[in-house]
């Protein structure tokens, strides 16, 4: 009883705070100072049409590096938790008959989904999208593969190698920035290229492709571990 009263009290205080914030909130009519700087200079300094991309990859590149590290850490801890015993590893999952429609559709769609994911992260500096979205789309393709054939063996070594190599390459491209440009993760390692074309914005397409491969491999790894955990009982 006391617990319920306390919960109600906490929610009420929080709701009162939110109500006050809501009442004093005024819709903004102009950008804040930092955002104004980004909006004015991003196209000139970074050369990317998508300002969100130039913030994520260049201005706040360290945040992205840290975030990719956090995702790697969660994937590792999940692998550790869902580790199977030796005898479970070789069992196959008993499942109902997968629908013929799903199997045929997955054969046609999975390559197209992978291609779309690659398109999304290569064009991250021009259109909405980028490494995280492209990686998630690739992982969706892996999920469709697993749905169509629950006993599929996804090669763990390939996933681990893609993940490690793209993670190291991300840092190495960042280090190139120190040598050839202003600092770590600076994208002006070569010419910026013509604004609005695919090969522009210096290192941004390269870095975002590595981020996309890494995120896709990590999420695929998590999905694969959950699928395998269905074997033990």
């Amino acid at each position: 009883m006391l617990k319920n009263t306390l919960i109600a009290l906490v929610i009420a205080v929080l709701a009162y705070m939110f109500y006050n914030v809501y009442n004093t909130y005024e819709t903004r009519t102009s950008l804040s100072g930092v955002a104004e700087y980004y909006a004015t200079n991003a196209a000139k300094e970074v050369g990317a049409a998508n300002i969100v991309t130039s913030i994520v990859v260049t201005y706040r590149g360290f945040d992205t590096l840290g975030e990719v590290t956090i995702l790697f850490l969660t994937a590792s801890i999940i692998s550790f938790f869902l580790k199977l015993k030796e005898e479970d590893e070789n069992k196959s999952i008993k499942h109902g008959i997968t629908s013929e429609l799903l199997i045929t559709a997955s054969q046609v769609l999975v390559p197209i989904i992978f291609l779309f994911g690659i398109y999304v992260f290569i064009n991250g500096h021009l259109t909405p999208g980028g490494g995280f979205q492209g990686g998630a789309i690739i992982a969706t393709g892996v999920a469709l593969m697993i749905m169509a054939n629950p006993n599929i063996r996804i090669n763990n070594h390939v996933i681990h190698w893609v993940e490690s190599i793209s993670g190291v390459a991300f840092v190495i491209v960042g280090l190139f920035g120190i040598v050839l440009a202003g600092g770590f993760l600076d994208n002006r390692i070569s010419g910026l290229g013509e604004f609005g074309t695919l090969f522009s914005a210096g290192a941004i397409p390269i870095i975002y492709s590595f981020i996309g491969l890494k995120v896709g491999a990590e999420i695929s790894n998590i999905l694969n571990k959950y699928q395998k955990s269905q074997k033990e009982l």
């Binding site: 969100v52 999304v120 909405p128 995280f132 979205q133 998630a136 999905l223 959950y226 269905q230």
Partner: protein, 85 residues
Amino acid sequence: MNKEIVFIIIALILGIVSLILALIAIHNKKLSVAILAAGVVSLFASVLYLLMAAPDVAMTEAAIGSGLSTLIFFYVLNKIKKSNA
């Protein structure tokens, strides 16, 4: 009709439906209904991001928040159901 007014009407509908779905997700006894309701809340949030001129965030939310999260929830639910049977 004015674009702003259409956006406001869509946002109001999305908001009311997603609040109802959030309450269903908390209150419903069936776990599968709760998980699906949370997934739909996430999907409506992605439409709301698109209305608020944030296409990058909308793509991420649609792919990760409502797609892959729901999938992982169902893996766990399947395992629990198999164990209980």
